[in-house]
């Protein structure tokens, strides 16, 4: 096979062709990256001097991985991360408010942040939604420095446009609070529809603006919307189809048409029941492929959906195997999942989710070495 570069490698697999090897994603999105402490330990392990991490996902303390790491392990992707929740404003009590008015609080050991207040928690009517101060979709803040970064990597690597967050279901839950929003869906449907329509309209404006400005450099656009739990969906498939799917469909159509790029969706957990819906509304690639969740086992996913959607993730379980497995167990799982997902392309390797701070650095290195050993076609 003639030499291909990273950009071509990822393009080929997304088109369900088999390139020279399965492409590798390290941190092109804030779900395939690593905790800043892991990056530091990797630098130390590899004998490099650590310049400090570029924390992009502040609430997970996940980094835009340093180029040294990406080059060393041979990553094929690069993130083009719009500033999604910043600026954060610090409050007197040590919490932070982001651009959406969401309150965030650090965990006691500062390893992650959680939501502690929700700007629409006390909304009771549609006129409350009208009064809410939406962020500015045209803020230049989001794009600062990105054009230079994109130009540096365009054509060489697969550039992933990241930062549109949990655009529909997730954001509605964050703005209202999970409990209130889920009850909205059940007993205040008119309000829920109004909120979701406004969210979809905002996201369409935002994505149009960003894609117009830097879409020319981009190869893949990523959005997120977590709707699964370990064993099931948070809401019923019917409720998803009534409330969420139409708005996702409108947004994803806008993204794909304006960018001309494949769409990558991040949706954690057991989401098998709606994968056909996602394919229908234009999702080209799915992340994280949480292999430990019910119904998300690699073999049956590949059998049912192989050739219809690209599996972006699923390389190794991060709930148990990566943090606590032996080197042998880690290599075995990488190998096994690789053999299942590889055939016919449509597979990009990444560990299921961000590498958390408690994972031994030897396990991380073993994983990347196993990837390298088994990635070739």
């Amino acid at each position: 096979m003639e030499d291909i570069n990273s950009n071509q490698r990822v393009k080929k697999t997304l088109a369900f062709g088999e390139p020279d090897r399965v492409p590798l994603d390290i941190g092109s999105i804030n779900n395939t990256s690593m905790h800043v402490q892991i990056e530091e330990k990797l630098f130390e392990y590899l004998g490099f001097s650590y310049p400090g991490g570029e924390i992009v996902s502040r609430e997970q303390q996940a980094v835009v991985p340093n180029d040294r790491i990406l080059e060393y392990f041979g990553a094929d992707t690069r993130s083009i991360y719009i500033s999604d929740m910043h600026p954060w404003t610090e409050q007197p009590d040590g919490t932070f408010i982001d651009q959406w008015g969401l309150g965030l609080r650090a965990s006691p050991d500062n390893t992650y942040f959680s939501f502690c207040s929700h700007p629409l928690a006390s909304a009771t009517s549609i006129s409350d939604l009208d009064r809410y101060q939406w962020p500015d979709p045209y803020s230049e803040n989001r794009l600062a420095g990105l054009e230079d970064r994109a130009r540096k990597y365009a054509g060489q690597y697969c550039l992933v446009l990241e930062g549109f967050r949990e655009s529909i279901f997730g954001l509605a839950s964050w703005l209202r609070g999970m409990t209130e929003f889920y009850m909205d869906l059940a007993i205040r449907p008119e309000f829920a529809h109004a909120l979701l329509d406004r969210l979809a309209d905002f996201q369409i404006e935002l994505t149009s603006f960003v894609i117009e400005r830097i879409g020319q450099y981009i190869d893949v656009v990523k959005v997120a919307d977590d709707i699964g739990t370990q064993r099931s969906l948070m809401i019923s498939p019917d409720m998803y189809r009534e409330f969420i799917k139409p708005r996702q469909a409108a947004l994803y159509k806008n993204i794909r048409e304006k960018s001309g790029c494949p769409l990558l969706l991040h949706a954690c957990g057991s989401i098998r029941a709606i994968i056909p819906d996602l394919i229908e509304i234009g999702v080209d690639a799915l992340n994280p492929i949480q292999v430990s969740a019910k119904g998300m086992d690699p073999r049956s996913l590949k059998e049912t959906f192989g050739g219809k959607i690209t599996f972006w993730g699923g390389g190794i379980d991060t709930q148990e195997v990566l943090p606590t497995g032996t080197p042998q167990q880690i290599e075995e799982e990488v190998h096994q999942n690789m053999e299942i997902f590889k055939p016919g392309g449509g597979y990009i390797f990444s560990q299921v989710h961000n590498i958390t701070h408690d994972v031994p650095v030897e396990n991380v290195v073993t994983m990347f070495e196993a990837y390298k050993k088994y990635a070739a076609y």
Binding site: D109, I235, T356
Partner: protein, 212 residues
């Protein structure tokens, strides 16, 4: 008439219709039914059905939340009318998300199902240190301690909590139940927890089995 009225309470609770639940409860009280009976055969039985439906994916989190809301509204009408000795408790549970972890939706659903089954639940909240759990056990003398964690990085606090209970001489006084997305039966066995469930409804089954 009472039977069909009690069914109205049940069905309204299962459907998450708060207004109808309260209306039907008030009707039954007016008809002379004992509050404890309304709770047991109306609300608690309704939540048992809700639990079964949740386990089998017939309903999901929104339906469970509104059923709980309806149940609580019904309970709010009934509890003030009951003298202490009439309140039958299935078990007392001290519940919390472990140290370092701020996630609570799963824990809250567990609390809902436990209350729905007639447990007295003391929810300590999130980021609960082993010491606070020990204090909670000393104060409330529960039969069960429920530990929740969403992160692999906070799961070890479950073992720390069990160790703290042992050190305080309380381990044998309580049954420790654990749960949360990354938690497994295997992990429960490893740390000698007394039980594990992978969903909020099943926790109630564990409590009923262990209380028998």
């Amino acid at each position: 008439m009472k039977m069909s009225e009690i069914n109205i309470v049940k069905e309204a609770t299962i459907a998450g219709n708060m207004e109808k639940t309260v209306e039907a409860v008030e009707q039954l009280l007016a008809d002379g039914m004992a509050p404890a009976d309304i709770i047991q055969t109306g609300l608690i039985e309704a939540m048992a059905v809700v639990g079964e439906k949740f386990k089998s994916n017939e309903i999901y989190v929104p339906e469970m939340l509104i059923a709980a809301r309806a149940m609580k509204a019904g309970l709010a009408k009934l509890k003030p009318l009951m003298v202490d000795e009439e309140i039958e408790t299935l078990a007392t549970v001290v519940l919390g998300t472990v140290k370092g972890d701020l996630h609570d939706i799963g824990k809250n659903l567990v609390g809902i199902m436990m209350e729905g089954a007639g447990c007295q639940v003391i929810d300590l909240g999130v980021d609960i240190t082993p010491e606070k759990f020990v204090e909670g056990v000393k104060t409330h003398r529960p039969q069960f301690v429920g530990l929740s964690a969403l992160l692999t990085t906070t799961m070890p606090a479950m073992k720390d909590t069990i160790d703290a209970l042992s050190e305080a001489g309380l381990r044998k006084e309580v049954k420790v139940l654990i749960g949360g997305a990354p938690v497994t039966q295997k992990y429960a066995d490893e740390i000698n927890a007394d039980g594990y469930a992978d969903n909020a409804a099943e926790v109630v089954d564990r409590i009923k089995t262990m209380s028998a």
